[in-house]
């Protein structure tokens, strides 16, 4: 059960530190939304270049849980889609990320319906 726990902590922590530095060392106009967009796009680019896979092998959840891991899954899905289905496979990223997107939409909706804003 404790396998990969320390690598996940260190890799995940360091990936978040980069985001914190982006937010603290730049203008206040860099909102969490900008950071998340940067991370998902960065994950796609690093995934396409084959640079994110070693990070996943090294850090496990430390690399897949940050949003850059979502980008990596999207890029991986597109590449594998082309290998399997040719041209239509270029849209395979969404297919690979379907579980994450679907769960986020459904549970995001359910929670927003069930709960009420604080205060």
């Amino acid at each position: 059960m404790l396998e990969m726990l320390i690598p996940a902590f260190i890799v995940g922590g360091l990936i978040c530190v980069i985001g914190q530095l982006m937010m603290d060392l730049t203008k206040a106009s860099l909102t969490p939304a900008h950071v998340l967009v940067t991370y998902v796009t960065g994950g796609v680019i690093l995934g396409a270049l084959g640079l994110y896979k070693p990070l996943v092998e090294l850090g496990g959840a430390g690399a897949t849980i940050p949003l850059s891991g979502f980008g990596y899954v999207l890029a991986k899905g597109a590449i594998e889609g082309v290998e399997e289905n040719g041209f239509l496979g270029v849209f395979g990223g969404t297919e690979a990320a379907a579980v994450g997107i679907g769960v986020a939409v459904l549970f995001g909706y359910l929670v927003a319906v069930v709960f009420n804003p604080k205060g």
Binding site: L2, M4, A8, F9, V11, G12, G13, C16, V17, G19, Q20, L21, D24, L25, P32, A33, L36, V37, Y39, V40, V44, I45, A48, G60, A61, G62, T64, I65, P66, L67, G69, F70, G71, L74, A75, A78, I79, G81, V82, G86, F87, V90, F91, G93, T94, A97, V99, G100, V103, A104, F107, G108, Y109, L110, A112, V113, V114, F115, P117, K118
Partner: protein, 159 residues
């Protein structure tokens, strides 16, 4: 509005000097504190994800990739629920990027505005606001992945 004669009684500096001093001293400790907290909270959330993944491999018999997907999904549900009961926003205040960047933070970025604008109705309130941050993330993430797929397809043709 500020009365320049009003100085802290024990400080022998002008307000300008005081401002300069605080500017010199305060940012660094804040930055270091933020970075350490981002590391700890981000690392902790990823470790919890890893525990779920290990659990799904050992007790669920899932292959590694499916277990990783299931672990991500689990953290999304946890992030959404903690936002619903009003805890996750406090975690973000402490952990900063360490709480924003993991998928729990992505779930928070969906639920938080949806709850805030709930009174605007199920379509323009919850339905639309779920995507005020997730929308841009999906637009840029999915579009760039399609772009990657196209490049890969063209390179494949040239081979």
């Amino acid at each position: 509005m500020v009365n320049k004669n009003l100085r802290p009684p024990t400080l022998n500096v002008t307000p300008e000097e005081y401002k300069k001093m605080t500017a010199q001293i305060s940012p660094r400790p804040t930055l270091i504190k933020n970075v350490v907290l981002a590391f700890l909270i981000g690392g902790l959330i990823c470790s919890i994800g890893q525990i779920f993944i290990n659990f799904y491999i050992i007790y669920g018999g899932l292959p590694k990739l499916a277990a990783s997907t299931a672990g991500t999904a689990t953290l999304i549900v946890i992030g959404a629920t903690l936002t619903g009961i009003g805890i996750y926003d406090d975690i973000v205040k402490v952990g900063g990027a360490g709480a924003i960047i993991p998928v729990t933070g992505f779930a928070n970025s969906m639920v938080s505005p949806a709850l805030e604008y709930k009174k605007e109705g199920y379509v323009f309130g919850i339905g639309a606001k779920l995507f005020s941050i997730a929308g841009p993330v999906l637009v840029y993430g999915i579009s760039s992945s399609i772009f990657v797929g196209l490049i890969y397809y063209l390179l494949d043709l040239l081979r």
